[in-house]
């Protein structure tokens, strides 16, 4: 299972996805190398969330192929195991487990998913809780935390699985404005550790700071894919220009 530079850690080839008659993804292809940071943006309904949900197999693609660590994702056991050991995910709405304390939220994956001992799981949970700067909240229930703190717990929960890729699905969209930065700061720190990430976000300041590659999607297609500098100063398509005008000008 050694990943070399020869193949990308995530390889998406001509993937299509339908919801009934609606085609959410049209022949999407994207490669992600280890250590690469990709920011995906685009208008709502453009398929960006669907794309990263397909990588985690929360949605099943109907055509094309997705390889994670060179293992194809399909119904096979192997594909599912590959997701388990490789991918962490952070959701827009946090989706913490409300009946468990913060620490229990973090320990559940290591204990049940990674078959670790309770003690090791607690160590790892404590470590990542410190990493997101809220070790003092360990024994509280999620509902007693602010939105920003909850999202940081969710990031720590994903990190406790020690994934090689992190997927972020609009991690700051459900937050009050004053809490966005504390979450973005944690994500920047994560980037600095060399974590591979695919992030759907409209935080363009963040994108500019961390992204190696910008992806712009519209109507289920990747319309533009380039370096951030070019993306923000000189995008090629009109659709992308329009979109940037709308979200950057206030």
């Amino acid at each position: 299972m050694q990943t070399t530079d020869k193949w990308p850690i995530v390889s998406i080839r001509k993937v299509s996805k339908f919801f009934g008659d609606f085609q959410a993804l049209k022949d999407v292809s994207l490669d992600v190398k280890l250590g690469e940071r990709i920011v995906v943006c685009g208008p709502s309904g453009s398929g960006k969330s669907t794309l990263i949900r397909c990588i985690n197999r929360l949605e099943k693609h109907e055509a094309g192929s997705i390889l994670v660590d060179n293992v194809e994702l399909n119904e096979s056991r192997k594909g599912i195991d590959s997701i388990r050991t490789n991918i962490g995910m952070v959701f827009q709405q946090f989706h913490l487990f409300p009946h468990l304390t913060v620490l229990e939220n973090l320990m559940l994956g290591p204990i049940r998913g990674r078959k670790m001992s309770k003690k090791d799981a607690k160590d790892i949970a404590t470590r990542y809780l410190e990493r997101v700067h809220i070790p003092e909240q360990a024994n509280k229930f999620p509902r007693h935390l602010s939105g920003g703190q909850q999202q940081r717990v969710a990031i720590a929960r994903a990190l406790c699985m020690e994934p090689r890729i992190m997927l972020f699905d609009e991690p700051t969209s459900a937050l009050d404005p004053e809490m966005i930065n504390e979450v973005l700061d944690v994500m920047v720190e994560l980037v600095n550790t060399g974590m591979t990430m695919i992030c759907v976000t409209h935080e363009m300041g963040f994108a500019r700071k961390v992204a190696d590659k910008m992806v712009f999607m519209d109507h289920g297609e990747i319309v533009e894919m380039c370096e951030p500098e070019k993306f923000f100063t000189d995008p090629e398509s009109n659709r992308c220009k329009n979109f940037l005008n709308k979200i950057l000008h206030h």
């Binding site: 985690n56 197999r57 929360l58 388990r84 050991t85 991918i87 962490g88 995910m89 959701f91 709405q93 989706h95 913490l96 487990f97 409300p98 009946h99 559940l108 994956g109 049940r112 998913g113 990674r114 509280k140 229930f141 509902r143 007693h144 969710a154 929960r157 994903a158 406790c160 699985m161």
Partner: protein, 246 residues
């Protein structure tokens, strides 16, 4: 609630002034009445044991029936529908008679009245439990399943550690309802000779010819039993809420 009970008690006592009542049969102040009362209450153990055994089984079976009802596979869902619709359509009394008198003919073994009663009550109730569980699980946000998936939990672990603990908190009032219902329906098992509360009352009526007083005591026995159960369920609800509120 207290006022209501006072009114009911007053009505019973006042009507006792007419010549139609003969409270002596259950008057604890006289030896005969006391032994009659003891006889009536002696069915309590079986009523409780029967109901609790039956509901324990029906909760487990109900959950096992509910899960295929939530599956993506249409045959599994079909199985759930057939079971629920089928079992829900059988009157409990008919099922008790069928299990006790009918089933041994094909099964090749006989069942005691207790186990026949337990099976009939449990099977009948499991259809309702299945619907309660299905509704409870469906009420949990889809994101909880996705989050569990994202931290590599298996289906069983997802249910056990993430979904059911939340679902059960929500369906607790409905489960409490079923327990109350079960306590009442256990009276039907008297028909096959189970020595529970109703059967005891029936037997006493045959020897004492005082149905009015004896069945009134029987009513009160069920009332007290069920009020205790209701209080217990409410206590449990509060405790589980407190868990979350911390």
């Amino acid at each position: 609630m207290k006022n209501l009970l006072a009114i009911v008690a007053a009505a019973i006592l006042l009507s006792g002034c007419s010549a139609n009542w003969g409270w002596y049969v259950v008057n604890p102040a006289i030896p005969k009445g006391m032994s009659n009362l003891e006889f009536l209450v002696s069915g309590l153990g079986y009523t409780v044991l029967l109901s609790v055994t039956a509901i324990s089984i029906s909760v487990v079976v109900g959950l096992l029936i509910a899960l295929p009802g939530l599956a993506a596979n249409r045959y599994l869902r079909g199985f759930n529908r057939v079971y629920v619709e089928g079992m829900r359509a059988i009157p409990i009394l008919v099922l008790i008679l069928w299990v006790y008198y009918g089933l041994p003919q094909v099964a090749g073994f006989t069942l005691t009245a207790f186990w026949a009663g337990v099976i009939a009550l449990a099977v009948s109730d499991s259809a309702f439990e299945a619907e309660i569980f299905r509704a409870g699980i469906q009420s949990i946000d889809k994101g909880q399943f996705e989050a569990a998936h994202s931290i590599s939990l298996s289906y069983t672990d997802t249910m056990r550690f993430v979904i059911l603990p939340q679902a059960i908190r929500r369906i607790l009032p409905a489960l409490g309802n079923q327990l109350v219902y079960m306590l009442k329906m256990s009276s039907l098992v008297s028909i096959i000779g189970m020595q529970e509360l109703t059967r005891k009352a029936n037997e006493l009526v045959v020897t004492e010819y005082r149905p009015l007083e004896i069945y009134t005591v029987l009513l009160l026995e069920y009332l007290v039993l069920i009020l205790i159960v209701s209080a217990g369920v409410r206590w449990l609800e509060r405790r589980m809420q407190a868990d979350v509120r911390n």
